[in-house]
Subunit: 359 residues, 2 copies
Amino acid sequence: MIHCAEYVKPDGRRLWLYGRRPPSPLGPVPSPFSTAVSVDTHLRFHPLLREWVIYASHRQERTFLPPASSDPLAPTKDPANPTELPVGDYEVAVFENRFPSLVPEAGPAPAVEGAETAAAVGACEVVVFAQDAGQSLGELPADRISLVLEVWAERTRALARAGMAYVLPFENRGTEMGVTLLHPHGQIYAYAFVPQVQAHAAAALREHYERTGSDLVADLARGERDRRIRVVAAEGEVVAFAPPFGRFPYETWIAPTRSVPDLAGLTAQETADMAVALSQVLRRLDGLWGRPMPYLMTVNQAPSDGVPHPEWTVRIEICPIRRAPEKLKFLAGTELGAGVFANDITPEQAAADLRGVRL
Amino acid sequence: MIHCAEYVKPDGRRLWLYGRRPPSPLGPVPSPFSTAVSVDTHLRFHPLLREWVIYASHRQERTFLPPASSDPLAPTKDPANPTELPVGDYEVAVFENRFPSLVPEAGPAPAVEGAETAAAVGACEVVVFAQDAGQSLGELPADRISLVLEVWAERTRALARAGMAYVLPFENRGTEMGVTLLHPHGQIYAYAFVPQVQAHAAAALREHYERTGSDLVADLARGERDRRIRVVAAEGEVVAFAPPFGRFPYETWIAPTRSVPDLAGLTAQETADMAVALSQVLRRLDGLWGRPMPYLMTVNQAPSDGVPHPEWTVRIEICPIRRAPEKLKFLAGTELGAGVFANDITPEQAAADLRGVRL
């Protein structure tokens, strides 16, 4: 069960506060900014890669690694120095990014000689996992992680209803991953089109579905559970495993063994199991070398493009970018130039290493 | 005109020394390693992304940021401490990487339960632009840069003859880009298959060619030359421009205005012009904030898969990863998770900024 209260900030951005119990009503909610943002963003089509590129000049000014004493994601202590969040008994908060790449009411795209353009319709939201800046997602109690999964499901549903064709919850974790605010948080990007990565995946999954009658990711989760050699954690009907073809060192996927296209389709038990598995994986990644693991985590749900997706099962993908205690994995020539990733660690070794971490 | 001498290192790797004049004959050539490397590498197929992933466990041990006093890419001064290169009057050197992801004589791939595997056939070569560790590629005289282009053309031709379906010369520049050896150098990866990025590009280019009768990249180079708003440098029939749909801040492409599928197809004059344009671009990027710009540079030639490629014109793509003097561009949620890049700087602004740099 999840309760939500919606507010509007002084600069016009929306804020949603979530809890297991209804959050107590609040007066006006804060914002570090008093006036509406001037958003200058549009899309251009890359004809060789056949994907859209976002241009968002105003984002150059976004908040960049403020000191802990002025954490904009902590509840406002001093009304003279408002943060993004109010004091209150909510557990998880979501608000519209002050520096969005995509916006619900995007203005018309400029005409650009030599490029096809489009309005940057979409949404960019910030998801704050907890009021306490000191706890990472994996360190939170399992029920809080479960609440985060439910918030992602809820925002996905709401953005799909608002016409978004694809909703991507993700977390960039660590300054090595480009994080500019240290308070643990995730983001949600919603696109008015199905992005190229998801369009390709949908085509591949559809082919598998037509050939086998079942979906590749749930098949994989069941296969990995039964084979056991690449399992990182298992809880109920949810399996965390190093995918047999992972591109990143210690890459881990978490998926149900049953065909479910999105988070909203999981049962309450499956959501709880996924939260436990996610917590296990994140703590094992941090435990590997006794230091926070920088990673990209994405929640890969079926497109919300109005057609059913029996070929697609939701998975959480965690892509770490540290390949050894003192060495990062960089994406460079072969990865970015050719799309061919070089991984120094086999999935079998990665899973064994992660299973060996004592929690 | 380019002269080449081939040698074999004590550990069995090949070395090619290039010059405008025939390099003087040498005795035995050095290697920091006395015995053949044990290469443990194979490919696995990623069924959602439909691309190959390389597993190369032995690469974890590769040389990592040695001190300048033990530069393995400088000529050997002390025979008791051999580097990768001999003393000699050569200008550019290429040798087989000691820690390759792909090798010409790859052993059979292991059977892996749950994944399709293949032998990691290919090549990984290191290209040393100059004996002097103090000069970056852009700082070298134009004729040396031209020689580097000719060496890339020569190695591409040789690897294609050896059966490689795609040859990718590139430079990762800067520790921010993951460089592990500071002596300026590039790399060449050769694949026995056409990588996914190039396969997609070829399909898009083919569609343009069939629709218009000309190829997209040369069309673009001519269009940008004539429009002038995104030109960064122009020399003869070669144009350097910010592509109207660039994904990286200050992304710059260099291409001839004539349809030419690969470097080997350029005339001597076009090669010389491309070298001048490349030098201009690299020095303008470094001049932007008075500090070396970290970037990925790729040379995008047509596949060498045995069919003609009238749809494809060679281009050099330079993708910088610094978006402001103190801020890097990170690839994270939307870029890696969806393939939708967010760029803070429009190509028109990028080109104007780069043109404004005083050299």
